[in-house]
């Protein structure tokens, strides 16, 4: 379980791991989070570090504190989606950067990993590309 990198702040890494679980639905909206102490023991880090990670998620609105009952995943599904999109966009940027570094072409995903709207757009883009190809082929011959 000791899968932290020492080169970036550990609290950011914990916040990211929890955010991914919220985005992916492993931690569903409204779920109560384990106590700081339990998370600290499970992740094998300092409780203060976990506290800081939770404070960051709370600032972003992904989790909320109920005064006496502890911390919960927010019920605001739109907010979760919005934050997920931001995260996905960043992943994409990183991917593009890496691909650029190795000099490879960006690949369009075959599986529809985005919501339906994006899938439609993607389909249209592909159709257009096909048409373009056809056109250039015609022009070539």
């Amino acid at each position: 379980m000791n899968d932290f990198e020492n080169s970036t702040p550990v609290y950011l890494q914990i916040a990211e791991k929890l955010a991914i679980q919220i985005f992916g639905g492993k931690l569903a909206p409204g779920t109560q989070l384990p106590s700081v102490r339990d998370i600290a023991i499970a992740k094998r880090v300092n409780p203060n570090t976990v506290q800081k990670a939770l404070a960051k998620l709370e600032e972003e609105g992904l989790i909320v504190t109920e005064r006496t009952n502890g911390k919960f995943v927010t019920n605001l599904k739109e907010l979760i989606m919005e934050k997920r999109e931001e995260y996905a966009a960043e992943l994409t940027r990183n991917y593009e950067k890496k691909m650029h570094e190795v000099g490879a072409e960006i690949r369009m995903p075959k599986i529809m990993w985005l919501n339906d709207g994006a899938a439609e757009i993607l389909e249209k883009v592909e159709q257009m590309e096909e048409k373009n190809e056809e056109r250039s082929r015609r022009w070539f011959f």
Binding site: N6, T8, P9, V10, I41, V45, N46, P47, N48, T49
Partner: protein, 233 residues
Amino acid sequence: MVLLECRGLNKKYGQKQALKNVNIEVTAGKIVGLLGPNGSGKTTLIKLINNLLTPTSGEVLINGKQPGVESKSMISYLPERTYFRRNMSVKKTLEFFADFYKDFDLKRAQKLLKDLDLDENQRISAMSKGMQEKVQLVLVMSRRAKLYILDEPLGGVDPATRDYILDTILTNFNEKASLIISTHLISDIERILDEVIMINKGQVVMHEEADALRAKYKTSIDAIFRKELKNAR
């Protein structure tokens, strides 16, 4: 709340200045790494805090008071060398500790010994160096102290035990206490640290939050430490 304060602390051994104008504050609820190369003054500082040495000038305050009997009852200290009676069994040593320290939690000690596969009936003299170190750490961590000071606790133990020890520190740690851990095996412990105090040639060269350092230098504490030492040379 400030648990430990060092003000203008100097220590000379004859002509040699072992510590030079050390000013540090450690608040409650923190795990602090005291990092420095061999001979940098880590153990001298720890001994001053434990009232085993007297400062040449400056002062140490534990919970606002000068070191003494009271501070010794608040500090659980793991020295760099073992100090057990070699012919005592582990069990006798436990009894000795329970008798000596009011805050000693015998049940916790027994559980930790069992987790580490240590036999209570074995004599200290029949144990390997690593096993003795484990026993000693169990005893130190089984006190419900305000301040834990561990001087190189990981030196002689295998990596699996190292992990277990760090987990033990984390699970038994409470937010009213603080823990100072001196080591040069930084990469092993840096995940549990709140704060880092780097000391070189008797002077504090850095005292910052571990995550703040990582954010600032975009690298590990271990790498920062190595670079800092290289530059100092």
